[in-house]
């Protein structure tokens, strides 16, 4: 298959390549977005942990525990 034939796709090149391009964008966005969400969740949790350690409390504050227990019990 020549480059011209591959690009033109029998006259349907615009449709075929647009579809594959959009799919590539969608799937890459999904993979990168999911990875980014996990990393930012880890970063946020680390920041919370550091601020807790720096304030001298190794365990979460009473308010946070109460809030978490409310969520857990549901």
């Amino acid at each position: 298959m020549t480059l011209h034939a591959a690009l033109s796709m029998g006259g349907y090149g615009a449709y075929v390549w647009t579809s594959y391009g959009i799919t590539l964008l969608g799937l890459s966005g999904l993979a990168i977005g999911a990875r980014h969400r996990w990393r930012s969740a880890i970063k946020k949790a680390r920041r919370r942990l550091k601020s807790r350690e720096s304030s001298g409390a190794m365990t979460p504050g009473h308010e946070e525990i109460a809030q978490d227990e409310t969520v857990s019990s549901r």
Partner: protein, 244 residues
């Protein structure tokens, strides 16, 4: 004894460790299979005798369509388990399914519309299959909005679980819309157990692409689930140990 692995896996620390270990083992095979099947679909498979080269769009459209309903079914089952047995991890799984499902459904509609223009002469028709797929997209978007609307994770989980379970009625409608009504959309061309309506030389890349999409979803779900677990277990001792 047989259920022991399930109970162990349903605890957030085990699920987190399992998802982290599993992710690279499915992500890279998914990428390799995606690239191989895309190459086969674009350059190796012969053009269709009726549709010509435009049929190559179906190699990305059909797997996305299968994933859109499969992910919704998984989400509804996880939501039901979370709602009935109050399993927090099931709600986390359901939450992690929403975004991938939305993207797969949007890709189904967009690639289907692009294929429809040269084949049917229009980007969109209010056909039963297309309309029920659009409703699926709206259900996913509704679920996303509901999750963002509540501050409290528990309330968000319950509300979106109810929507996911009610919306599951759309799945059989999508599947059988081409049987129940006169539809512009063609019937099922692929069959797991019987012979497919596609020529053997053309069908192999479709199956490989479907497998690749499933593996890819698995990898994305692993990342999404880990993010959900970290968000929900932010004060847990085990997470503190993991972070240190």
């Amino acid at each position: 004894m047989g259920w022991l692995w399930f109970h162990r896996l349903s605890s957030p620390p085990s699920a987190y460790a399992f998802a982290r270990r599993l992710r690279p083992w499915i992500f890279w095979p998914a990428i390799i299979l995606l690239l191989w099947s895309a190459y086969e679909a674009l350059f190796v498979v012969p053009p269709d005798y009726q549709q010509g080269d435009v049929f190559r769009i179906l190699y990305v459209h059909v797997p996305a369509a299968i994933m859109s309903t499969a992910v919704y079914s998984a989400m509804a089952i996880a939501a039901a388990i979370g709602l009935i047995w109050r399993m927090k991890l099931a709600h986390a799984v359901a939450a992690a399914c929403v975004l991938p499902g939305t993207v797969f459904t949007a890709l189904t509609l967009v690639t289907g519309s692009i294929w429809g223009r040269p084949t049917w002469g229009t980007y969109w028709a209010w056909d039963p299959r297309l309309t029920s797929e659009l409703i699926l997209l709206l259900l996913y978007l509704g679920n996303l909005s509901l999750r963002g609307a509540f501050e409290d994770i528990g309330r968000a989980d319950r509300a979106s679980a109810v929507l996911a379970i009610v919306g599951a009625a759309d799945i059989p409608i999508i599947k059988y819309s081409v049987v129940w009504w006169n539809s512009l959309h063609q019937g099922a061309s692929l069959s797991v157990f019987g012979p497919s309506a596609i020529a053997p030389s053309m069908v192999a890349p479709v199956w490989v692409m479907i497998l690749a999409y499933f593996l890819f979803f698995g990898a994305v779900l692993c990342d999404g689930l880990c993010a959900e677990i970290v968000r929900r277990e932010r004060n847990a001792q085990w997470l503190t140990r993991v972070l240190q």
